[in-house]
Symmetry: C2
Subunit: 395 residues, 2 copies
Amino acid sequence: MLDYPEFSFEITHADPGSRARTGRLSTPHGTIETPNYIFCGTKAAIKGLSPAQMVEARTDIILSNTYHLMLQPGADLIAEMGGLHKFMGWDGPMLTDSGGFQVFSLGEGTMANEIKGKGKKATENKNLLKITEEGCTFRSYVDGRKITLTPESAMEIQRKLGADLLMQFDECTPYHVDKDYTARSMEMSIRWGDRCLAEFARHDDGRQALYGIIQGGVHTDLRRISAEYTKDRPFFGTAVGGCLGGSDEEMRAVVEGSLPYAHPMRPVHFLGIGRMKDVFTFVRLGVDTFDCVIPTRLARHGTAFLKGTPGETINLNNARYRHDDTPLDEGNGIPASSNFSKAYIHHLLKAGELLAVQIIAQHNVATINRLIREVRAAIPQNGLDALEKEWLPHR
Amino acid sequence: MLDYPEFSFEITHADPGSRARTGRLSTPHGTIETPNYIFCGTKAAIKGLSPAQMVEARTDIILSNTYHLMLQPGADLIAEMGGLHKFMGWDGPMLTDSGGFQVFSLGEGTMANEIKGKGKKATENKNLLKITEEGCTFRSYVDGRKITLTPESAMEIQRKLGADLLMQFDECTPYHVDKDYTARSMEMSIRWGDRCLAEFARHDDGRQALYGIIQGGVHTDLRRISAEYTKDRPFFGTAVGGCLGGSDEEMRAVVEGSLPYAHPMRPVHFLGIGRMKDVFTFVRLGVDTFDCVIPTRLARHGTAFLKGTPGETINLNNARYRHDDTPLDEGNGIPASSNFSKAYIHHLLKAGELLAVQIIAQHNVATINRLIREVRAAIPQNGLDALEKEWLPHR
């Protein structure tokens, strides 16, 4: 029986008026307060930022992607180098996903958006060769070789990577598939989840903990079945995955209608979702941790998160910043946010200087970490509504 | 009369067996020990590194390029933002060049190499439209507009940028021009130097100091005339510029034959030269400061400086580093050199992760700063030969 002796999740406050809560999640690499935000170190690196810069931006936890790492440099190499923590120089808590989302999305550029319910139906995923009960076969984007990923191999790879928090292997169904397909897929993800649990238990040394994933697309009844499945199995945590709808309202309704059927005492992670507005919406529905690539992805496009700004962000490429001698946000308390004018960052972007990405990325990470700290502080004070008005006054 | 009251250069030790010396160069933004190395913040940014990372790598002084900044974002904008120190967040000593080298080199890709005596004769510089006694006219690479740079405008722009140490405007003649052209060009650079001095003196507020530049190509007799010119004029420092030959031996002979005719008590800067071997060679000939883009340029190609390595560098793209779990060099005392294995950096390069550039760039800067610190310590101990054998045992 899995009992995760080196892990714990303690709920420190539960809001009587919503499902919002604060908690303390302990792992062999340290304890984080929740709600929290998990930053994406996709290929064993946060894009453009060193571990020291992540710490300076007050980051508690990061993740890395099984799919990318299994292709390059390979799980065996990372195991040989002492595991992912040592390899990338991060000694805090860490999560790896199972590879499922990328297998089903990265063959084709727009599929990732489609899974999230954005944009039109994606064209065929040419790198995804076959999905069967056994697992799925795809071509490596690195060298074209054929690879089969199964629940068992997804567990083996994540064991070699050595993160603290692991994810079961699942099928991520796109937005446009019909309900029958989504239901069959969700049932298969359940069977895959059981195989993951069995494989995980076979090698369990107490140093890792496994999350089950709620699938079921935009269908609340399917999501509810999937949520109850995760509750009934010895997972350490619960993740919400796959496509939840094409609008904020649809996403909210699906989560609201299904998450209450998951285990109430386990940490809940929301996979791949994490704009500021999402944090406020889904913390109230019981989500404990978020992850999303946008803090660093937006930075590469010159876009900075900013408290109190319509749409959450400003685009520093805009000519309006050419003469703006104000810093991004001194409230973050780090040099990236305080020591450089918007005019300087605008110049760096125009001149194609890499430093722009580094400055904005660290600012974005620091901003999101500050937001999530303030969210944690607000929950026991019944202050979420007021805090949301501060951060998103135009919403 | 120019007397640079807020500047000083004190020679603290002169080696009796060579022209090597240690010194102390004071500016309104601080004092540096010499010999020292000036890192290139070409477009008001060190490529890939923040000011804080430069400080962590124990950097004392940086430079920025007048030519690039006059085109983008423009000297007026930088003046409006409080000057270059404030704009880029560097409050230590800073140098700007005059724009001459880039005007005469950047119109055509290989011309910069040709001025340094490398490679074949460059094809015509298409952006350089006209060189006259008045100055030179060229097209902006940013927007194609026609710009005339004169000794007076080069001074005005550098005044607006606000660096501590300025350079006179000069013509940089390529390697393949004949001696007659080089002589006429050197004579014009002398007249341009006098116009720079006059313009500089007209606006002198004591916060900046001007260097004269020794030109004359590979011809020691022309270099000697140019060196004597700089000595006889009220420059604060002396710079060695332009093409010095196609080989280490030729460069050494030209400097050896001409630098003794420059002012013996002024700081000597070597423009654009700065591999490890150059530091050892030219410190012995009386050079006090170096600058070169290679510490950060090599980093962008995955190449790291390494003490005691044949050719000074290793290429981390090489498959031999795939399984190498050793750090770059713990002797540098910074996380970039100590906390990441070569295998990890190799992976980052293969995966196209920006973090690789940041790590290697900071390592390279720290390595060169350590080299120059050890050079400074070795000179009074008569230890330069032994130190060179430590750093470059294969030479």
